[in-house]
Symmetry: C2
Subunit: 257 residues, 2 copies
DNA sequence: CAGTGGTCTAGACCACCGT
DNA sequence: CGGTGGTCTAGACCACTGT
């Protein structure tokens, strides 16, 4: 009954369930997902925040608790929400280590994850090259921020990395010359940009003289070149990253499902 | 009501819902999943087969249609079942091309998938080496089948590959000297072994003289070494595969979610 | 048209959490 | 203890399929 009345007298959140003949043809649980996701992206519920209970959301959106539950399910599936029985549903707040290990797929011979550190970080502002504009879906003269750094495992340099991000999404980033080791965490908490997923292209290459010098190896040694494009929750590209990795005794781990 | 009676008078499939105090503490929908999965693995429903309707299964298992649905959902999610609205639920029957492209993650510069062919295939029977026994969870003197072959893209040799499988799971495989290009399809339809997922370790290496000769490249050229362990539906390892790939103009594609 | 999956509801009961 | 998520049911209606 509550839902029936709410369905007629709806004033808030008309996006989900307002008039009797529904204009939006998508299933209600999809609309619930979209609505909740929009609020998270808009910053209404920040990482770590407690959402209203399923019944409260159901009342507010004019649908049944089961339908709310189904919508939230898909966001839990995507790792955006976390349920804690007896306590409530929370916006996922991944630790820097969580995010690092999700995207850093290099392990040692024993199968343990490698935690890299960063050094020799440089930040420059440029206009996008053709390749950068293509990768990030920008116009060719849009401003980008280009970060280069050397990454270390156990103090040994093993990755030469270039990160390119659109300046418009991250105003002021690196202006003080400081960039943290885990930049996705900065994206999240400083700019409200949540990293959703990434696509990587891997290819073995021979070390050029320049990179060999950076990594203190012989020119021509085999390196793993990893080209990554990272996407936000809306599916827009937010980062283009090229890593040249000297994987002596290490390997990249992929899982095929 | 039907479910109530079935719940009391249960004779078939006591595994899901038989006595009033349930012995199995797992949720009913998990038990439905397990039960249906077991029947598929036992060959009761073969790839392409039509399952009973959700209501029929619900009656048979003594649970409600919604619970059956939830159990089947998880199998659909895993790609083991396919739903077709208005027609029914079917055991997934992946074409050889489906399976090939799921596990063969190499694309060309334009982003198109590469379809490899095979040549120079050799099949040998051996006892497992230490490394092979470890990878496949075998005892050290268990019999294995070792397949070596060269794989071609557009007629050009680009992968030198070694596949190791436990002889006990695949009796008679390759006895006639013939091994198809897509062996997972053979596993499925000849031996009823469904490939579930795989874990891969990637590393750039320099081509040895031997492999360089096979692939007609210079010794020392950078190759991608891919070590794969493949698992069946029960999570048991069924294949250990080492591929040495000359990815000139090609790349391995990985997706991080 | 009958039969199937797909959506949605209302309500029950359980398991878990913090006070 | 009250409030939360987790499971399960029974039944309604819709959308799609093949005959």
């Amino acid at each position: 009954m509550h839902a029936r009345e709410a369905l007629k007298n709806r004033t808030i959140s008309p996006s989900v369930n307002d008039a009797s003949p529904r204009s939006d043809r998508r299933p209600l649980y999809v609309q619930v997902r979209t609505d909740v996701l929009a609020r998270i992206e808009a910053g209404m519920w920040k990482p770590g925040a407690l959402l209203p209970s399923e019944f409260a959301l159901a009342g507010e959106l004019g649908v049944s608790q089961g339908t709310v539950r189904r919508g939230l399910d898909s966001l839990v599936q995507d790792g955006l929400l976390v349920r804690r029985q007896g306590r409530g549903t929370f916006v996922a707040d991944h630790t820097p280590a969580d995010v690092l290990f999700r995207f850093f797929r290099i392990h040692d011979a024993a199968g343990h994850r490698v935690a890299p550190t960063s050094t020799a970080t440089r930040v420059r502002r440029r206009t996008a090259s053709r390749a950068e504009a293509d990768a990030l879906n920008l116009a060719i003269n849009d401003r980008i921020i280009r970060i280069t750094r050397i990454r270390l495992a156990d103090g040994r340099p093993f990755i030469s990395e270039t990160v390119v991000i659109p300046a418009s999404r991250f105003p002021g980033l690196g202006d003080d010359g400081v960039v943290p080791n885990t930049i996705y965490d900065l994206f999240q908490h400083q700019y409200g940009v949540t990293v959703s997923h990434a696509e990587e292209q891997l290819e073995p290459v021979a070390a050029t003289a320049r990179v060999a010098g950076q990594l203190r190896i012989k020119p021509g040694a085999p390196l793993m070149k990893i080209v990554r494009i990272t996407y936000d929750l809306s599916g827009r590209p937010i980062e283009w990253r090229i890593s040249l990795c000297h994987l002596k005794g290490l390997h990249y781990v992929a899982s095929v499902r």
